[in-house]
């Protein structure tokens, strides 16, 4: 079995198996094992990047970044989830039946995301993203509380409209390609589309891109299409929040990037950059302000994800080797850091029995390892050194200010507003006299600290191969 097939088959098979495996222990172990196997397969895929380009599947330098990141976070989230779900089972928030459903859905979601990433067919990619979305909808509602169902419903409805918009965009791309590339599946194959894009009808591509940007942008969580995101993050199980923020948003972003490439290949089409810059800035600033009035800790970090997706989309919108590099780096760092934050937040919420920010306090006093880990992770996401986000923000802001000072000012406004809010909440959560139960945390801190270590190391030194890889992608993105 080739690694490409493996990253699809392993989760799919695991999903089927898990649907029938009763019991917490075996389920969690299989889930973890499958995730590990997927990760190994993804790593084995690295040397193959650029060699796989079939009619349905493709692995190039762009999506390999996403695949590896996806499998890694998927693996650590599975590790975190094992401990987390155990606690949920004991406290009775989840039933064993739910659990089977949960694990199956988890692998199905990984399958959907991996498929979306490696598919060479824009129709197939659309289907895969929708699959991933629907599985997460199911998991968001898994607690069956009214709030969880509400959140899932909101996610479902808004997601469906997004799906529809993205589909229309996909159809339009096909219609634009069909006179050039001929009828049938050929006009949906990504690698062909890119080579023929210059001859497509630009007006058609323009309309298509608007629909694709809004459709997939809904999944990315760009304001004002973000509404599902905070609630879905807040009400679902925390491992799923981590996966949503760390992975699903990236996958949707990947789709946007693919179509951006397509647009860029046609000189007569509207430049996609300004649109992305505008949406990105709007998201970053808007989310920054929204952080202030948050009372739920997970919703807080969900808005922070919106902010960061805004920054990433902005960076890709600006384009150029530095901004693209920064965008990729930021995306990677955000995935690692935000999922780390959710791991920590999950432990906190379990210890304190609440997600209300005001009921949590003095964590560094009562739970030093957890508290300082969360502090480091929040500092990392706030763009403080020596973590990786600092490097990407450095690159984005400096390169933008030299080109478009006004845009940089707006971006920085968003960054500062967000920093103010995060710090405010952080100070309350982590310092001062402890509030709430002080029992020691059950969940493993290993996923949290392994992510932090990676983010820390990346902030100081990026390994050569990763850099070469990022730069290749950055050049590809133009």
């Amino acid at each position: 079995m080739t690694p490409v097939a493996a990253i699809l088959v392993i989760p799919a098979a695991a999903a089927v198996v898990l649907a029938f495996v009763p019991g917490y222990g075996p389920g969690a172990r299989i889930n973890l094992g499958a995730s590990l196997a997927t990760l190994v397969a993804a790593l084995a895929l690295i040397p193959l990047a650029g060699t796989v380009a079939g009619e349905t599947l493709v692995v190039d330098s762009l999506n390999i970044v996403f695949v590896v990141l996806n499998s890694f976070v998927g693996f650590t989230a599975a590790a975190f989830s094992a401990g987390y779900i155990g606690h949920e089972l004991r406290t009775g928030r989840l039933t064993p039946v739910n659990l089977r459903f949960y694990h199956a859905m988890y692998q199905l979601m990984m399958f959907g995301m991996n498929l979306a990433l490696v598919s060479n067919n824009i129709g197939l990619m659309w289907v895969a993203i929708e699959l991933a979305t629907l599985t997460t909808v199911a998991m968001v509602g898994i607690y069956r509380t009214s709030a969880a169902l509400e959140a899932a419903w909101k996610y479902f409805i808004l997601g469906s409209v997004g799906i529809a918009l993205a589909l229309f965009g996909t159809i339009l791309v096909y219609v634009a390609a069909q006179p050039v590339l001929g009828e049938g599946a050929a006009s949906m194959v990504w690698t062909r589309l890119v080579t023929g894009a210059a001859r497509f009808d630009p007006a058609m591509l323009n309309v298509a891109f608007v629909f694709l940007l809004l459709g997939y942008g809904t999944k990315v969580g760009l304001a004002p299409l973000h509404a599902w995101l905070p609630d879905a993050h807040a009400e679902g199980p925390t491992p799923i929040s981590a996966v949503l923020s760390g992975l699903l948003l990236n996958v949707a972003l990947y789709a946007v990037l693919r179509f951006k490439l397509l647009m860029a290949a046609n000189p007569a089409a509207v430049a996609p950059g300004p649109l992305m810059v505008a949406l990105g800035l709007l998201s970053a600033v808007f989310a920054g302000f929204m952080l202030y009035r948050r009372r739920d800790i997970k919703r807080l970090f969900a808005y922070s994800s919106i902010e960061h997706m805004g920054i990433i989309v902005f960076a890709f919108g600006m384009g150029g080797p530095i901004a693209n590099f920064a965008g990729l780096l930021h995306m990677t760092m955000h995935s690692l850091t935000k999922s780390a934050i959710f791991y920590a937040v999950g432990c906190v919420a379990q210890v304190k029995g609440t997600q209300r920010i005001e009921d949590i306090g003095g964590l560094t006093q009562s739970h030093p390892a957890l508290g300082f880990g969360l502090a480091a992770a929040v500092m990392a996401i706030a763009g403080m050194p020596p973590f990786g986000v600092f490097m990407s923000e450095f690159l984005v802001v400096t390169s933008t200010f030299a080109r478009e000072p006004v845009l940089a000012l707006v971006l920085v406004l968003g960054l500062l507003v967000a920093l103010g809010a995060l710090l405010l909440r952080l100070t309350g959560l982590l310092f001062g006299p402890p509030a709430g139960p002080v029992a020691s945390a059950e969940g493993s801190l290993l996923p949290l600290y392994s992510h932090l270590a990676l983010v820390f190391a990346a902030g100081l030194h990026l390994p050569g191969p990763v850099v070469a890889w990022f730069r290749a992608v950055a050049d590809l993105l133009g």
Partner: protein
């Protein structure tokens, strides 16, 4: 022959837009559902005609799904929901019908303006089809946005989806159309089930943030 097939396709697609306007015009839920069934029938006709002129026989499946599922099953289910849940029988509007229709006109104009610059080399059928499809999609969205009842919003979404199917079938030789129409039917079924399960009587709003706010204390 080409001109005739073009005219019929054009007529059917235009009919779809017309029915979309009729949907906007309705102020009773039952009549809304009936008009929607009519739209589904027109869509089925349009798809079937496309299947015929493109010689793409799998599209007949799509037409059949449209006919069976959307023209019969879903309207029936929604009828039942309205009865069972004792939903208010009138369409509650946010914006009155007149201005909504005017906005709809604007949306159709927008669609036409957007699709006009397409190069003439393009298949004129596809071009017209796309303009109509875009109109139907936008009108469906408009309906979702300007109507309060959950049922009329579901109808809006399905109307939107009809536009998608029209576009997909109009695109010559597009793969996966059937699969997509099936997937969407499932989606719609889920929504209808959701409406029923969550007992969303009046609008999506009731099963909405209000509960979230209370449980999480987000509301200051």
């Amino acid at each position: 022959m080409v001109s005739l097939s073009y005219d019929i396709a054009h007529l059917l697609a235009g009919g779809l837009v017309l029915v979309s306007f009729m949907l906007l015009y309705q102020d009773r839920l039952y009549s809304l559902l009936n008009v929607f069934a009519l739209q589904a029938v027109v869509l089925a006709g349009a798809v079937a005609w496309q299947a015929h002129i493109q010689g793409a026989h799998h599209l007949y499946v799509t037409a059949a799904i449209a006919l069976a599922f959307k023209a019969v099953l879903v309207p029936w289910a929604l009828h039942r929901i309205v009865e069972r849940l004792g939903v208010h029988r009138e369409v509650e509007t946010v914006v009155r019908i007149g201005p909504t229709m005017l906005a709809g006109m604007g949306l159709v104009a927008l669609s036409v303006v957007l699709m006009l610059p397409l190069t003439a080399a393009e298949n004129p059928l596809a071009r017209e089809d796309l303009a109509f499809a875009l109109s139907v999609i936008l009108l469906g969205l408009l309906m979702m946005v300007t109507r309060r009842n959950a049922v009329s919003q579901v109808v809006g979404f399905m109307s939107l989806e009809n536009g998608l199917v029209l576009a997909a079938t109009g695109a010559r030789g597009m793969p996966l159309v059937v699969e997509i129409s099936v997937a969407f039917s499932v989606l719609i079924a889920l929504i209808v089930i959701g409406v029923f399960l969550f007992r969303i009587r009046e609008r999506f709003d009731t099963v909405d943030v209000a509960a979230l706010d209370e449980s999480r204390g987000e509301r200051p």
